[in-house]
Symmetry: D2
Subunit: 153 residues, 4 copies
């Protein structure tokens, strides 16, 4: 399944991510996912200057899922393999597989469903055209394949 | 579906929970879930003194899911309806429905799957007997009903 | 020094606040301070509906200080004694002393200096008149006494 | 004053760091400080494998201070200039000056006082000898100069 992923963000486990059990707290993975989405968007040139803000990617998260396989530890270096698994008219899905750099252990995986909305009505509206174009070009023939919970068995 | 829930934790939205879009950040809901689990466990008398720690509920999160319906705002008071939807020999599921106190709006819902493990092998081991007993008594005939993503339509 | 404090916020230590050493992480205290400021402002009726927002208290933090005396643990109940120690034309100072409910142990203390600014120039502007009035009435003869690092020896 | 700093950590402002006012939340700077300390320690080879843990730098934070000068924004790249300003028998001080990469703007500065303690008594004990040696070699003639609040006027 990893072969479907054309992008990875790298994340160092911070001291603040560690909990009572000396492992990365379960909730922190959703911050890792969020940072990976930002890195992916920067790679495709959609994180612009502060004045332009997040204008072309003004989406809302509608679903979030994470499956935890192995604990991650303080100072671990994690590869967050990240892809857009599908694009629909006003929604899309990010998928992630987190692998520890050091030993190649698969730590966790998950997905996030997002929808572009108009403010303040929160009604769905079509994804930005240039965004769809760039993602389609980047993900190419993998777009639409194996959405949902990534299979990392 | 709310009628299956016999416990609720109350959560005030803190300033730190609010993001760029002036709504509660998507990842923060998993902290709300975690705090609701702790409140639930305290209600059943499973949060003991610091010395005894988290000994009888030494579980690991294996899956986390949240569905977002409406935004929550700064200083909102949220009811986190919380239940254990099933118990298996070494695992269990928490379910949540978050409702805004002020207007009764359903904000989000989700679930967490947990498994009790032995350290450091991380092999599953049976849930504590007194824990199973208390939860069974508390949830009673609702135990086993409607697991997974709560239906809040 | 505690006798100068006329308000306290109560804070339960959450699981997410605990770090590798099984104590509340040092950075988390600044979130406790922030929540205590919000509680104080609500007490004085300055947290309004979401539409009015934070309009009359649109201040920026300019200094933050915390002194740590004793560790706080998971699930501790903390009293965050909170006061405004001085008001100037466009600035003010919050002070805090955190005491564990259970055993009365003094955990930490600190202060925050804030200034009211105009956006986006960030130039100081006078504090809101009704805000000054209410705080002066509430803190009364204690206003101006013992600013800076609280003496909790 | 920047000329006293021989190390810098680089920090990208994450989406989760941004608050209601679209700037980095005041409390988040203490996480930046903490990450900078970790980077500094790694540079001096004091972040070892997970098994050895934080054994030679098992210190507790006793004071934390931050002065805020300019706001930082989403996705800003920040240079966290970091030094150990003094070493005493069982304590030390870290100092920081945060500068935005893009425009050289000085964003904030601060310091952290730490003390090495024995667990669980929390009594001070001498700093590790090899730690003192490496820091002294690295900071050299700057050690002891200009402790406290960094002068960034």
């Amino acid at each position: 399944m990893l072969n479907l992923f054309r992008f990875k963000a790298v994340q160092r486990v911070a001291f603040e991510d560690i909990d009572y059990y000396k492992v990365v707290n379960n909730s922190k993975y959703f911050f890792y996912f969020e940072r990976a989405r930002v890195e992916y968007l920067r790679k495709l040139d959609f994180i612009s200057t502060r004045d332009k803000g997040l204008d072309k990617f003004d989406v809302a998260v509608v679903e979030n899922y994470c499956s935890y396989r192995k604990p991650a530890y303080f100072d671990d270096l994690l590869d967050i393999h990240t892809r857009i698994s599908y694009l629909k008219s006003s929604s899309l899905q990010f998928q992630y597989i987190i692998v520890r750099s050091g030993d190649g252990e698969k730590i966790s995986c998950g997905y996030t469903n997002l929808v572009r909305v108009a403010f303040p009505s929160l009604k769905p509206r079509p994804l930005d055209g240039s965004f769809v174009e760039k993602v389609t070009e980047f993900e190419n023939e993998n777009l639409g394949k194996s959405p949902g919970i990534p299979d990392i068995t």
